[in-house]
């Protein structure tokens, strides 16, 4: 590329028929730019991070001190050990809900119109946001872990803690793209907020995040056993507590990959079709 100066009026060089490589490099550049922008926005809205952490703490306290006694005694387990890794996964899932709400709000703002008139990769608008949200997720997971430590929870090892947070972030990232697709389709933030209750609550409560599958009614068990949040909860629990995880890590990564395979192209198509 060459750049020509006209007095002080500099114009970027025109890229007319970019190769696939250049196209990808420009898309990566745009994603990085949108990530920069969304990170500034996240830092200016600390309430988003606070909300995620407060919800995590809320679940820790609510389930440990109120339901914990009966669930733990019923299943014959140390409930705090069971609960904290589950709340990691739930916190990451709520991060995905924030992607959905954040993107929907973005779409109502005028800046989206400018993005669409700029020589930029339109995928980058969503990709940058999901990455920014994943970074925020890691921050809220660390804060939730600290609260867990204060309540008396202990990780089996440092590596296990890192693995647990990484895996929770991975499944959260897959759901972020689902949230993005819903936002790109529905567009109205309040409607997106309402809709998120329909996927968030069943996934969250009918899972092994808060209670072992054996404590649930038989008709519900098949759904609970195989849905992504259960697989992720079991896998994260194994990593955090240093217990055997079996195929759960692969199953969780498989779910994350499947979500990406479905919702990356879907959300990009819906976003473009506006």
């Amino acid at each position: 590329m060459t750049t020509q100066s006209m007095r002080s009026d500099v114009r970027p060089a025109l890229v007319s028929n970019p190769s696939v490589g250049l196209r990808l490099r420009r898309a990566a550049q745009d994603t990085n730019t949108v990530l920069w922008r969304d990170t500034i926005r996240t830092l200016r809205q600390p309430e988003m991070l606070a909300f995620a952490v407060i919800m995590g703490v809320f679940f820790l306290v609510l389930f440990n001190y109120i339901f914990g006694g009966s669930i733990g005694a019923g299943a014959g387990i140390d409930y705090l050990k069971f609960l904290v890794p589950g709340v990691f996964v739930i916190t990451a899932l709520q991060g995905a809900q924030q992607t959905s709400l954040g993107l929907a709000t973005d779409l109502t703002e005028g800046v989206t119109d400018r993005f669409r008139s700029l020589p930029m990769s339109q995928v980058a608008v969503i990709a940058g946001r999901t990455i920014a949200d994943a970074v925020r997720n890691v921050a809220s997971l660390i804060l939730v872990a600290l609260v867990g430590l204060l309540m008396g929870y202990r990780f089996a090892s440092f590596a296990g803690a890192v693995g647990a947070i990484a895996l929770a972030t991975a499944i959260g990232y897959g759901f972020s793209w689902m949230g993005a697709a819903i936002a790109a389709k529905v567009k109205q933030p309040d409607m997106v907020g309402m809709l998120s209750m329909f996927w968030l609550f069943p996934l969250m409560l009918a899972s092994t995040a808060f209670a072992p599958v054996e404590t649930m009614p038989g008709w519900l068990q098949p759904f609970v056993r195989y849905q992504p949040i259960s697989a992720a909860s079991d896998a994260v629990r194994g990593l955090a507590n240093g217990t055997p995880v079996g195929g759960d890590i692969l199953l969780t990564l498989g779910w994350a990959a499947a979500l990406l395979l479905i919702f990356v192209p879907t959300s990009v198509r819906l976003y473009r079709a506006r």
Partner: protein
């Protein structure tokens, strides 16, 4: 690869070209076979009331909306099939401020500069230059959600200029601005044109089109009802307007009876004002005033003036531009 300036220089034809542009929304034909060209340094004004199809036209030309029929090109690149290239050549300032509300003006310019792929040092220098040139230093480091309407609008227009685009689309750029900011922005638009930018400007303000545009398209219901240089459009009427202001409501009714139905007559009962098109200026006016006086009409004052675009619009479409919307 070459710079955008070269691309335009190599194509001596128009920078912006629209040929039979059409767009429908369900049953509504928003734009019907609109054709026009804009060459470097030219300002074309699209003038019309709300719903005339001005914004739809801008949206099609700036790749924001698909084209139903006809075609458009920017710098020789087709808007539909070569939108990647087109987006590198255009700047758009829409009716809704297309800026990031959570970022400062400086950060907004950095964001758009990065997305235009302007190298770091150049985009920083460009941002400083624009902030200084447009007198935005006072609020450049404040988050945009705290801006006044004028500050927000100014940043929106400036954001369209980050990459020095050879083609600029301004959709009602001065709507909602105070008179001082409006005059300032007029100066900016004129200076951009003088430096070779091809500009399409939509407006509901007749004065604005008159002041800025080299060529005006008057649009009503998606169709061009007249086009030409502002002076030519006004000459097309080939008559002056005698504006008579009468004393009371009875005078107003009496005056209307005497004048009778004339094509292009403008009446305003609240202000008790009548605008009468007069063929041969002074002589006809004297006759009219005399017959009003003979008919017992008390005249508060009168004035003989050249037609405004308001009169032109009324002549062509049979209805005045909605005053409510213009002043909104």
């Amino acid at each position: 690869m070459s710079s955008n300036g070269d691309i335009v220089a190599k194509n001596p034809g128009p920078v912006i070209e629209a040929v039979n542009l059409s767009k429908s929304f369900d049953a509504l034909e928003a734009v019907k076979e609109l054709s026009f060209t804009v060459s470097a340094g030219q300002v074309v004004g699209l003038l019309g009331p709300n719903g005339a199809g001005k914004t739809t036209t801008i949206n099609m030309l700036s790749t924001l909306m698909s084209i139903d029929a006809g075609s458009a090109s920017i710098g020789g690149f087709d808007v539909e099939t070569q939108s990647d290239q087109v987006r590198q050549l255009i700047g758009v300032a829409g009716q809704a401020a297309a800026i990031d509300e959570k970022l400062t003006a400086r950060e907004n310019l950095e964001l758009f500069g990065r997305l235009y792929k302007i190298p770091r040092t150049e985009r920083r220098r460009r941002a400083e230059e624009l902030i200084e040139q447009f007198d935005m230093g006072e609020f450049a480091n404040r988050v945009a959600s705290t801006y006044s309407g004028g500050e927000r609008r100014r940043l929106d227009v400036v954001a369209a200029l980050v990459a020095n685009p050879p083609a600029l689309f301004l959709d009602e750029p001065t709507t909602g601005l105070d008179p001082r900011s409006r005059t300032e922005l007029w100066g900016v638009i004129a200076s951009l044109a003088s430096r070779g930018t091809a500009i399409v400007l939509t407006t509901q303000y007749l004065e604005e089109a008159d002041r800025l545009a080299d060529h005006i398209l008057i649009i009503d219901h998606g169709q061009v009802v007249a086009s030409g240089a502002p002076e030519d459009l006004k000459r097309e009427l080939d008559r002056d307007v005698l504006e008579v202001h009468v004393v009371d409501a009875a005078d107003f009714t009496a005056a209307l009876d005497i004048v009778g139905p004339i094509e292009g007559l403008v009446t305003d009962s609240d202000a008790r004002r009548i605008g009468i098109p007069v063929g041969d200026g002074a002589i006809h006016s004297l006759d009219l005033l005399r017959s009003l006086q003979d008919g017992g009409v008390s005249i508060a004052d009168f004035q003989l003036r050249r037609p405004t675009l308001d009169d032109v619009f009324l002549m062509l479409t049979g209805s005045p531009i909605d005053k409510e919307e213009v002043s909104a």
